[in-house]
């Protein structure tokens, strides 16, 4: 093969592009695919197959390519299994043949080919049976080393990818004659259209069919149509974009190659994954030409006839001496056209008898190809005709076994296609995917005229369903031949039965394998597929499934429709995980929520931990502190002895208003909120409807019909959803509304004996213990800014929380931090916050973990008997109350220095750590600098009756066993005098 001078209309011959293949420098032109550039340089052998390591060449000119799978690298990036027919060349591209060592010409593993009698379908299952012990140690590792197409890059890929969304009235998939007519019809009617084309250039087969439309060369007509569409602002033309799947609700996945064809673009996404929501869609993806199974049909130089035409016309590739093996009139017509254009057709073999001779090349009627020769590519083709055989020297063997409509997307919702005898192929059935219609060759209308008319018709129908008026467009004049084919799947002349004829070129499945599967009982198409691996290679059987079905049907004495098809599943082409998950790496994995004090906290050197989606500071290290616990102990000391400051903005805040707000909160909380006086705050407990604790928090009454409630950081979303549900499901006629204001207010906590001194330095009007008692709140101003001040405590010390509009949060935090430090205190982080609350026995979601009832945490009296609330009925169920329940207790190790660990289980001292003796588990632990001991909170079976008992805390994971005393969970200041003071 070589390049013709001055031909190939897809090329820009003024721009030369350099790349390498297997280390050798090669050049092509701008517009070349890797495949066309390799062919132009006479390189036919481009890889090895999966199982037998047979030489593989370029067989197609599209994304269905089964043979030319290569490794492509560029600028440190590496991609295996790249289809050379899709990859465009660019400067700096380095491609390598894969599945071969040391080189594609001399591949050690090609020995597999000699072993092929022992490597038939199912050989794993037959060969690696015994001895049993060998499987894990020997067979499986050996198979894993040998298996797989291509190799994985060993480096993490950092290249950028994107994902995005698009919406349209009509999605047109494919830009051949049917797709262009559909897009023109819809575009002219003013519909929002997306036209997706897999190739770099729109036009589909019009780019290479050599015919005429309205008296112009087809590709010129296509270019004019594309120009018209490009000028329409409501039409989006997406090239290099493969629609990969049809999904529920008119959503289509599409993969766009954005930067894979460009050199040195570090910031450009390699690919973009689109989710296109379309009111209607038209599948106009054309058809794929199929090979014919005959001995030696896998040799480099074997190519589909349509691909030969495509390389010849678009890329100026002269295929040399061509033998055509076809079974239909379309192939014959194409041979004639190619011969007229100068392609040397040395023979056209057709198994149909009685064909009239033609001009331009010898037509061998009633002939079949029975073999090929040539070590690394076709050198000659053997043809049998009328009992005699002859060997014809050739460079290319062009196969033309008919066309399979590209109906995959129409079958993505488990639709089963219909077998159409006239084209000997499967065609889609209307309505398989709601909102999707199929037009043109994709539903078996093969002539150009039929495709043009079908595309226009499909668009008119879709538009009328959408209520968009489309004026009828004249359908252009074009070739309108009938398609005549005699189904022919495999050569089975005497003498060929023992030879291997390939079906699946990537996975090395031959007709013998399919017959063997049938003989061994795997006669269902799904079983045959799994037994032989037919159709499981990167091309997913696009080139081979129908022929394999035909061979299976023949072997089992059934017809093709009776044999059935395997299930079509997305994606239509391989989609990189990087594109599907674009943006989801590292920090993109989940949204990040930042507090107003984050910048200050980071400046103070605080390490951060995740709390829900929020990032919160763990502790604030000071010089000389060697351990997080040193910092934590110091920060606890601030709160117990002076004053500490902490950003608690992450707590959920919900504003509830309306005449029925109090009644609404009574239904939500176990305790009564309607009796709360304006200006007061009450602790509240919420249950799920099944009686388990959902969350706890505070409820502050602003006015008769206005409350602000808080939730824990982790449950803020769940509680908001719950409020909305209860309101909309059960109280839709009540006058109440609830809205999350978590982001609207920054809330800063001050805690400690000197908290009031500090808070009074920022308030315009100071507070006293009397003017703002414990569990009260009031509106305040700070330098004229309205704020809310709450007298609440999560530390057991006198505590205030000051809520300001979020935009003032950072400056308020800085101000309070400075004042706190001046008062001998400072910032405290999550670690100290946790110690402070454990010392007081305050619960978090470590305790209320979704299995715990109000009874378990000793709050069953908070479930008011006087009124109904969510979860009340279920909370009284047997099994949710009683001595068998794990109940909240405190634990103190007998030796105060012995560390307790969260997650450890509790056992009676004398019993082994076995499930039948399990008495509960430790939910939270800390070192209490205040009390000089480790402390734990635990849920212990019948725990409230067991205070004073000694129990074994057994952490089997960390290998720790500690004896501890069971006690009340409130370790410090049990009567609460400090926080009221």
């Amino acid at each position: 093969m070589k390049r013709q001078p001055d031909s190939g209309h897809s090329l820009d011959r003024s721009t030369t592009v350099g790349f390498t293949f297997d280390g050798r420098s090669v050049t092509g032109f701008k517009g070349d695919t890797l495949a066309s550039a390799l062919l132009a340089n006479g390189i036919r052998l481009v890889g090895r197959s999966f199982k037998y390591h047979r030489p593989r060449g370029i067989m197609t000119a599209g994304s269905e390519e089964p043979g030319a799978l290569v490794e492509a690298s560029s600028g440190g990036e590496f991609y295996p299994n790249v289809r050379a027919t899709v990859q465009e060349i660019h400067d700096g591209l380095a491609a390598r043949a894969q599945n071969c060592w040391p080189s594609v010409r001399h591949d050690v593993m090609a020995v597999n080919d000699l072993m092929s009698p022992f490597l038939s379908a199912g050989f794993y299952y037959k060969t690696f049976m015994w001895p049993r012990a060998f499987w894990e140690k020997l067979y499986e590792p050996a198979i894993r080393r040998a298996a797989g197409l291509g190799r994985l890059p060993r480096v993490h890929e950092d290249a950028p990818y994107e994902k995005t969304f698009a919406y349209c009235d009509l999605l047109v998939i494919g830009s051949g004659p049917a797709g262009l007519m559909a897009a023109l019809t819809a575009g002219r009617a003013g519909a929002r259209v997306i036209l997706a084309e897999e190739d770099r250039e729109p036009g589909g087969r019009l780019l290479s069919d050599g015919g005429e439309i309205d008296g112009k060369p087809s590709r010129v007509w296509a270019a004019e149509a594309v120009a018209e569409l490009s000028a329409m602002p409501h039409v989006r033309l997406m090239t290099r974009t493969t629609v990969t799947g049809a999904h529920d609700g008119g959503i289509y996945g599409a993969l766009e190659r954005v930067g894979l064809h460009l050199p040195g673009q570090p910031h450009m996404p390699r690919e973009c994954f689109w989710r296109i929501t379309a009111q209607r869609a038209i599948l106009a993806a054309g058809a794929l030409e199929r090979p014919i199974a005959h001995p030696g049909n896998d040799r480099p130089g074997v190519m589909m006839l349509g691909a030969v035409a495509s390389y010849w016309r678009r890329f100026g590739i002269n295929p040399g001496r061509v033998v055509v093996f076809g079974n239909n009139d379309g192939a014959l017509a194409l041979s004639r056209a190619l011969a007229r254009e100068g392609v040397e057709i040395v023979a056209h073999a057709d198994p149909r008898e009685g064909l009239a001779a033609t001009t331009g090349f010898p037509l061998l009627s009633g002939a079949q190809v029975t073999g090929t020769s040539g070590r690394h590519g076709i050198a000659s083709v053997t043809v049998a005709q009328g009992g005699s055989t002859r060997t014809i020297e050739a460079d290319t063997l062009a196969l033309a076994g008919g066309w399979n409509p590209t109906l995959h997307l129409a079958c993505h919702m488990n639709g089963r296609p219909h077998w159409d005898e006239t084209i000997a192929g499967f065609v889609p059935v209307p309505g398989m995917v709601p909102g999707l219609s199929v037009a043109g060759a994709a539903r078996g209308r093969f002539s150009t005229a039929a495709c043009l008319a079908d595309g226009a018709l499909a668009a008119s129908e879709a538009l009328s369903e959408l209520g968009i008026n489309a004026t009828a467009m004249p359908v252009p004049q074009a070739e309108d031949g009938t398609f005549s084919i005699a189904p022919f799947w495999q050569v089975s002349l005497p003498g060929t039965e023992k030879k291997r004829a390939w079906l699946d070129f990537a996975n090395d499945v031959t007709t013998k394998d399919v017959r063997l599967a049938a003989a061994e009982g795997y006669s269902s198409v799904e079983h045959m597929k799994r037994y032989t691996t037919q159709g499981m290679a990167p091309d997913q059987g696009k080139n081979s499934n129908v022929a394999a079905l035909a061979v299976l049907a023949d072997a089992t004495g059934r017809d093709i429709p009776g044999t059935g098809v395997t299930t079509f599943r997305p994606p239509f082409v391989p989609v990189s995980i990087a594109a599907l998950g674009a943006g989801g790496r590292g920090e993109g994995f989940a949204p990040l929520r930042r507090t107003v004090s984050e910048a200050r906290s980071r400046a103070m050197g605080a390490p951060f931990i995740e709390a829900g989606l929020w990032m919160r500071p763990s502790y604030f290290p000071k010089p000389g502190e060697t351990d997080w616990r040193d910092s934590c102990n110091r920060e606890v000391g601030y709160v117990r002895n002076a004053v500490g400051v902490c950003d608690v903005s992450t707590l959920g805040k919900i504003d509830v208003q309306g005449p029925d707000a109090a009644r609404f909160l009574d239904l939500l909380y176990t305790n009564t909120m309607s009796s709360l006086k304006p200006g007061r705050v009450r602790y509240g407990l919420m249950l799920r409807e099944d009686g388990i604790v959902m969350d706890d928090g505070t409820c502050a009454r602003m006015a008769t019909d206005h409350f602000v409630i808080t939730t824990t950081t982790a449950a803020a979303g769940q509680v908001m959803r719950h409020l909305d549900f209860v309101q909309q499901a059960f109280c839709s006629d009540w006058q109440v509304g609830a809205i999350s204001v978590t982001e609207h207010f920054a809330q800063i906590a001050l805690a400690g004996p000197k908290a009031r001194d500090v808070i009074n330095q920022v308030l315009d009007v100071p507070v006293t213990a009397e003017s703002l008692p414990f569990m009260a709140h009031m509106p305040v101003t700070l330098g004229g800014v309205a704020a809310r001040l709450y007298r609440i405590s999560f530390s057991g010390e006198a505590g205030y929380e000051l809520a300001v509009p979020a935009r003032y949060g950072a400056s308020l935090y800085d101000r309070l931090l400075a004042l706190t430090e001046a008062a001998g205190g400072g910032a405290y982080g999550m670690e100290a916050l946790n110690v402070l609350r454990i010392e007081k026995g305050f619960i978090t979601h470590a305790e209320i973990d979704g299995r715990v009832t109000a009874f378990d945490i000793g709050m069953e009296k908070m479930v008011s008997g006087a009124k109904e609330c969510i979860g009340k009925a279920a909370s009284k169920r047997p099994g949710l109350i009683g001595p068998e329940r794990g109940q909240l207790v405190g634990l103190r190790p007998l030796n105060p220095q012995e560390e307790l660990t969260a997650g450890a289980h509790l056992y009676p001292a004398a019993e082994p750590a076995r499930p039948e003796h399990d008495q509960g588990h430790v939910s939270s632990v800390c070192w209490s600098p205040t009390l000089g001991t480790f402390l734990g909170l635990a849920l212990l079976r019948n725990g409230r009756a067991r205070h004073g008992e000694t129990i074994r805390v057994d952490d089997g994971v960390r290998g720790k066993r500690v004896a501890a005393t069971v006690c009340d969970p409130v370790f410090f200041d049990p009567d609460g005098g400090r926080m009221r003071g």
Partner: protein
């Protein structure tokens, strides 16, 4: 999959949280027998075909009772909870 929010119209299903059957709408009276509460809380059909289930549209806070078909994946429509009961 697309879900019609009673407030916002058709939206991508990723904007929603689903909690399952519309049985949650039919809350027993507080003094109903425990069997009624068991049915309400736990006992669910698993229909292959028409179903009604509850979806929360997180961006706007509207709950929807969605009529759809678990066999065909067709989504027929949705109402607010007040209308669904």
């Amino acid at each position: 999959m697309r879900i019609p929010c009673p407030h916002c119209g058709w939206r991508d299903s990723r904007e929603f949280t689903c909690i399952g059957s519309d049985a949650y709408l039919f809350r027993p009276e507080p003094d109903a027998p425990m069997s009624a509460w068991d049915d309400y809380l736990h006992n669910r059909d698993n229909p292959a075909g028409p179903s009604r289930d509850l979806w929360y549209h997180d961006p706007c806070g509207t709950w929807a009772c969605v009529s759809r078909d678990t066999a065909t994946h067709a989504v027929h429509g949705a109402t607010g909870l007040g209308d669904a009961r």
